[in-house]
């Protein structure tokens, strides 16, 4: 697989094709499997993603701690805000939905991770529904997202414990932004700018979940991560270019992650987890629960 997005963009441009096409070809070569098999696996992932969106939107799920759940449905049935009736609001609802399923130990696709699993399905299935885009193109977009994630895994990290939330929902936003731009007809170059624009907006983002559990703020960070992806998509599609190439933004994310204090890397030692309310909720809702065997 590619270790540089710039290299993949160069190959796609030279061959007059898309990033998903070069990514699928590289994967087929690496794994010794036909492209059709890889697309089938991505098709199965898309089915699970849609099931998680639908399951979460019902609104009846709660995490074991009952700290999260039921909020995705509010974006469907709750009072209107300024974005009511737009794909933007629908994407937010879908991001919350998947993450609420995850927190309830339901089945999701970790893309790139479970903690950041809401962003990509929300952006891709939300925009595909809004624009009537067929599944084959969504599957291609998943391949592009996989390419971007693979580059992040090689150059930086996809683990909150290593790189903070910028490596999970931040990477997910970069993947979703790039993938959606291809799905909406953008060029490989625009995909690169969308990725850079989304990832730069999440640089420095810490991983500070209450009690160390993938619940709060993770569920909401998937929604705000999706919002950053949508902003990056809109800017890249408008022809805006980000001066620092995606590869270098990703390298920066890795550097920041490596120097991030351990308190901000999934350990519940800092950030929101260490606030008076964060500590109280963790004590009351998480640790008590564990002691009572819940």
């Amino acid at each position: 697989m590619y270790k540089s997005l710039a290299e993949a963009i160069r190959d796609a441009e030279a061959q007059g094709t898309t990033l998903s096409a070069v990514a699928l070809a590289a994967e087929a070569q690496d794994q010794g499997r036909p492209v059709s098999e890889i697309r089938d696996a991505l098709r199965r992932a898309l089915v699970v993603m849609r099931e998680a969106v639908d399951r979460g939107l019902v609104g009846d799920l709660r995490s074991t701690s009952e700290l999260v759940g039921g909020d995705a449905a509010k974006l469907r049935t709750g009072p209107a805000g300024p974005l009511a009736g737009t794909p933007f609001r629908d994407v937010l609802a879908r991001a919350l939905a998947v993450q609420e399923v995850n927190a309830a130990m339901g089945v999701i696709v970790a893309a790139p991770t479970a903690g950041g699993a809401g962003v990509l399905p929300a952006v891709l299935t939300g925009l595909a529904a809004a624009r009537g885009i067929d599944d084959e193109r969504v599957i291609d977009a998943l391949a592009t997202a996989g390419l971007i994630g693979a580059v992040v895994a090689e150059r930086a990290s996809l683990s909150g414990a290593e790189g903070g939330c910028q490596a999970e929902t931040g990477a997910a936003a970069g993947m979703a932004a790039g993938a959606a731009v291809e799905m909406l007809g953008g060029t490989p170059r625009q995909v690169g700018h969308a990725t850079a624009l989304a990832q730069q907006g999440t640089l420095g983002l810490v991983c500070d979940p209450l009690g160390g559990l993938v619940e709060l703020p993770c569920v909401f960070r998937n929604a705000t991560g999706a919002a950053i992806a949508l902003a990056a998509i809109e800017m890249a599609m408008a022809g805006i270019e980000f001066a620092i190439p995606a590869d270098e933004v990703i390298d920066t994310m890795g550097e920041i992650g490596a120097s991030m204090d351990v308190r901000y890397r999934e350990t519940a030692g800092g950030g929101l987890a260490a606030t008076p309310t964060g500590r109280r909720l963790a004590r009351e809702r998480l640790y008590e629960l564990k002691r009572s065997g819940g």
Partner: protein, 222 residues
């Protein structure tokens, strides 16, 4: 090498790819060392695994993996109850394996019948794992393919003999890494194969007079 399908995947039970799916895969790899579900296991958690493991379901995922459940198996949710029902003796401890160890590292010491083994491995993120030590030998096993690891005396023709055994077992070699500490000293082989070898392959390799140690680990990625 990172695979697209590791990034868009795995399909898994939540809530954490490194703490739940990755932990489950490490459990699946560890059980291979004793050829099945261990009766006893000491599970030592390091770093983030030690600090936040319980709430992330790391304990359930490791136990589920040791019992042979895969990351998308909904039985992971109740793995600890199943373990008790099956009468398995798995104990958890918190430990420190030093600053160099990856934050999500576990050391598992396990027993099944007369087989005993110890494995250290880390969950690298996005469900990817790396086994770094087996019975005191440094290794690098990702579980992306079926893998044979072995230590042998540095004798002529050893690679050919092993390759022959694998060919007889209908296993195609994908990658082969050979290293040794000194000429005539221990030779270390990590062989990744496309087709799943069974325990008889491990037994045949172990039966070679110049092989001191060999293990077979299953592919655990999607």
């Amino acid at each position: 090498m990172v695979s697209l399908l590791d990034i868009i995947g795995p399909v898994m039970v939540g809530p954490s790819s490194s703490h739940t799916a990755g932990a489950c895969r490490l459990g699946l790899l560890a059980r291979c060392l004793v050829g099945g579900t261990p009766e006893r296991a000491r599970i030592e958690l390091h770093g983030s695994f030690a600090r936040t493991g319980e709430g992330h379901g790391t304990d359930k995922a490791l136990v589920g993996g040791l019992m042979g459940f895969r990351p998308d198996d909904e039985r992971l949710r109740t793995a600890l109850e199943i373990m008790e029902r099956e009468g398995l003796d798995y104990q958890f401890e918190k430990t420190s394996l030093g600053d160099d160890a990856h934050p999500n590292t576990v050391r598992i010491t396990l027993e099944r019948g007369d087989r005993k083994s110890q494995m250290t491995g880390a969950s690298l993120g996005a469900g990817r794992v790396l086994v770094t030590d087996i019975d005191g030998y440094p290794v690098e096993v990702s579980g992306n393919l079926h893998t044979i690891v072995l230590v042998a005396n540095d004798v002529k023709g050893s690679v050919a003999r092993i390759a022959g055994l694998l060919a007889d077992a209908n296993c195609n070699i994908a990658t082969l890494k050979l290293s040794r500490k000194a000429r005539g000293g221990d030779a270390f082989m990590v062989i990744e194969v496309d087709d799943q070898p069974d325990e008889s392959v491990r037994d045949a390799i172990r039966a070679l007079p110049w092989v001191t140690w060999a293990f077979r680990l299953d592919k655990v990625s999607a």
